[in-house]
Symmetry: C2
Subunit: 452 residues, 2 copies
């Protein structure tokens, strides 16, 4: 059964570290999975973590570093000497993990570490990987892979694989290339196990291979691996030469991060925060959207004061400000989130924007008529004046339609201009719909109070 | 490069189907990946899909069915005879995919198909899998796996693997069991390739294996596979016997679905909808939350009318209704979403609820003081009366603090009672904060107008 971190465990461990009881401390962590140790490190101070860290053997220490949260790791690496990082840790990592670990450090420390790495080839791989944009296939891939020539037979192939496999953690696929290193196909391990020794690779490999280029966006990589159920995806350069591979565990992180980003935008949070972050970080992540909300509220006050005359005629108009604002906000968020999710899931939608808006309007009409009627009945029952009753119901319908169209249109437009459509969700849509809702409501009110 | 679906392609394909041009139609789809064909099927009518479907060979036809969207598949299966489904399609699927495909059908059709399956063992596997809850490891796992006895040597092991591997699509791990089928360890394929023929399995396998039980929740399964970077996870029964395995591609779907569900709840949508769904479905998904919003708006109107006397004294109080409501709503959504995301990501947080609320209050204080001060300056500049200026700023601070605490507390409480905390995000929090905000604002107003 998986390890579960408890408060008692942490306290006991901190106690052992405090009394410098290496034996107890070691016993408590040595059998844990690196991911669990990384979790433990997130709960204790850097100095305590350092005490425990030197009790781990090199392989495990390297894995723990890979599994740590990025912030934790960055702080932790600061207290370790560069040469130790290079010789005891980076040396034992695959190139993509090593690049991730080194990538967050200062340029000076990066250089110090790269120069201390004994294996020149590995240092070169890491330098190569660091040059790619983090959000592309190049930034996700590892250089270590098992590669065979299409002209070999199974015998030679198996010998080569045994040699190359020693260098990598997990082996899921063997890649087949031609004499120019151009990717030609894959060989599943199942195929390797069941094929005869004299079979030629060219004839048994699967030539129908899906690959991406180094500059393919991470989001696209995640979509491809998800759609085609791939565990490993080869990466090629502009002329098709095999230069790396991406494994599914890295892509799972991309998928989670994408989802978290959209969730944060819709909830009005500007950067990656967690409940465990400190108050200052949390404030900084939340203040920007609240400022926009404040500005919206002030604009709303201005709009209302433009209609002060009407309010004097019937102060009860003010009763329904919150209702109009809330409904506009809710409908707008619903509409924009459906569009954003559709775009994110790459749901192929071949209908035109005009038709999308038309459908959105029909949904808004159905919802609007139901809600307006209910509101109408409420106002009749509670003996609201005729003018106000008809104003509220008409305005509600109009606001729902406006908010739907606006909430649908804005993310579609952003996406067209290659801006993240998720920016149009949450407080942004709510704030604009609040103001527009008031304008519509008070405008309709002025009209109707004049007529009746 | 991956296939990209275009409007032109669909039109051309529809044309070929309409003119019953089998040759063109076949040429257009035969080389596509099953996932791409499934995508194409989502864009054309059931009858058109059926015409194309019979042009595919059995293996590919089965794969296409697995890759189809659940709704599309359900509708499509209705027009295929049960015997064809059983003999041409289910026969070629792994047990988990077969159970997924059959699971959505009516009981009568399920029985019809199960009785037509030639392979009794496979039919039994499917029946077993159908008995598990969809949201557990049992519902995710497949029964097909490669299993070796710990007492065998490598020679016997390789012979067995070759035999068993023929039945499964992809092979990532070999599982090691004892004579009672109790899971003892795993054997990576890399290990298999590099070990000597006379090595005993017991001595070369990795005994440090992470497994789950059939009743482990899908969410937990996803967290474990993600945390420990697993490609395949063995499933055991209550006494530890190996009975299935879950692969990462199924878990990627779980992760995506979880994220989508939370996103939909925060945006006020009650069920899984996509932009391509019809207007009626979209209305049904959106109306429930809008009704709650309407109720909230009406309660808001009631609250305001309780303070009608005060409004008569200073109608300008109404100017700031939208501001107070919007800020309460925004802050509440921010707070609840941070908590919900923390819970979903299983961020270990060993601090007590009291300390969490304390931190939330300090964040609210910082934000609140900044925003209230800005609002104060605005009101001074725009020459708002002293009473109203001080009322708005004080109320804003109070509302921000209330909304923060409430938004943090509710999801934590729901989680404690094993209710999905995500229910507390979005329109729910916004609506309650709207009403409470008005109460706080008008209550403070009454107090201050009396004093000054």
């Amino acid at each position: 059964m998986p390890f579960e971190l408890t408060r008692e465990y942490i306290e006991q461990l901190k106690e052992a570290v405090k009394s410098e009881d290496e034996k107890t401390a070691q016993k408590m962590i040595v059998d844990l999975h690196p991911a669990d140790i990384a979790e433990v490190f997130g709960e204790i101070s850097n100095e305590e973590a350092k005490f425990l860290y030197i009790l781990l053997d090199g392989e495990k220490a390297a894995d723990v570093l890979i599994e740590m949260e990025e912030d934790d790791r960055e702080n932790f690496l600061k207290i370790l000497p560069g040469e130790l990082i290079a010789k005891r840790l980076i040396d034992k990592m695959e190139s993509d993990d090593a690049a991730d670990v080194i990538g967050v450090l200062s340029e000076q420390k990066q250089e110090e570490i790269l120069q201390s790495i004994g294996d020149v080839e590995q240092a070169g791989d890491i330098v190569d990987l660091l040059s790619y944009d983090e959000d592309t296939a190049g930034g996700l891939m590892a250089k270590e892979l098992v590669m065979v020539n299409e002209n070999w037979d199974m015998n030679k192939c198996m010998r080569e694989i045994r040699k190359q496999a020693a260098e990598i953690d997990e082996l899921y696929y063997v890649y087949v290339v031609d004499n120019e290193d151009i990717l030609k196909g894959t060989l599943s391990l199942k195929r390797l196990l069941v094929s005869r020794a004299n079979a030629k690779i060219k004839n048994i490999c699967n030539a129908d291979v899906i690959s991406v280029r180094t500059d393919t966006k991470s989001e696209e990589v995640a979509n491809i691996m998800d759609k085609y159920d791939l565990v490993s995806l080869p990466v090629v350069d502009t002329i098709g030469r095999l230069i790396g591979r991406i494994t599914i565990d890295d892509v799972v992180d991309v998928i989670r991060e994408e989802a978290e980003k959209d969730y944060q935008l819709i909830s009005g949070i500007t950067q990656d925060v967690e409940p465990t972050d400190n108050a200052l970080l949390l404030t900084r992540a939340r203040l920007p959207w609240l400022l926009i909300g404040l500005l919206g509220g002030i604009l709303g006050a201005q709009v209302i004061s433009m209609f002060e005359e009407n309010l004097k005629i019937d102060p009860k108009i003010a009763l329904f400000f919150p209702l109009i604002a809330a409904m506009g906000g809710n409908v707008g968020v619903q509409s924009s989130s459906i569009v954003v999710q559709g775009i994110a899931a790459k749901i192929i939608d071949l209908t035109s924007t005009a038709r999308k808006l038309l459908k959105e309007i029909s949904v808004a009409l159905i919802n609007g008529i139901i809600l307006s009627s209910l509101c109408f009945v409420y106002n009749i029952v509670f003996k609201t004046s005729f003018e106000l009753t008809i104003t509220v119901s008409t305005a509600l319908l109009a606001v729902i339609i406006f908010a739907s169209v606006f909430g649908t249109f804005v993310p579609l437009a952003l996406n067209k201009f290659k801006i993240d459509p998720a920016l149009a969700t949450g407080p942004f849509i709510t704030t604009i719909n609040d103001i527009m809702g008031l304008l519509i409501y008070l405008g309709i009110g002025r009209l109707f109070y004049d007529i009746f």
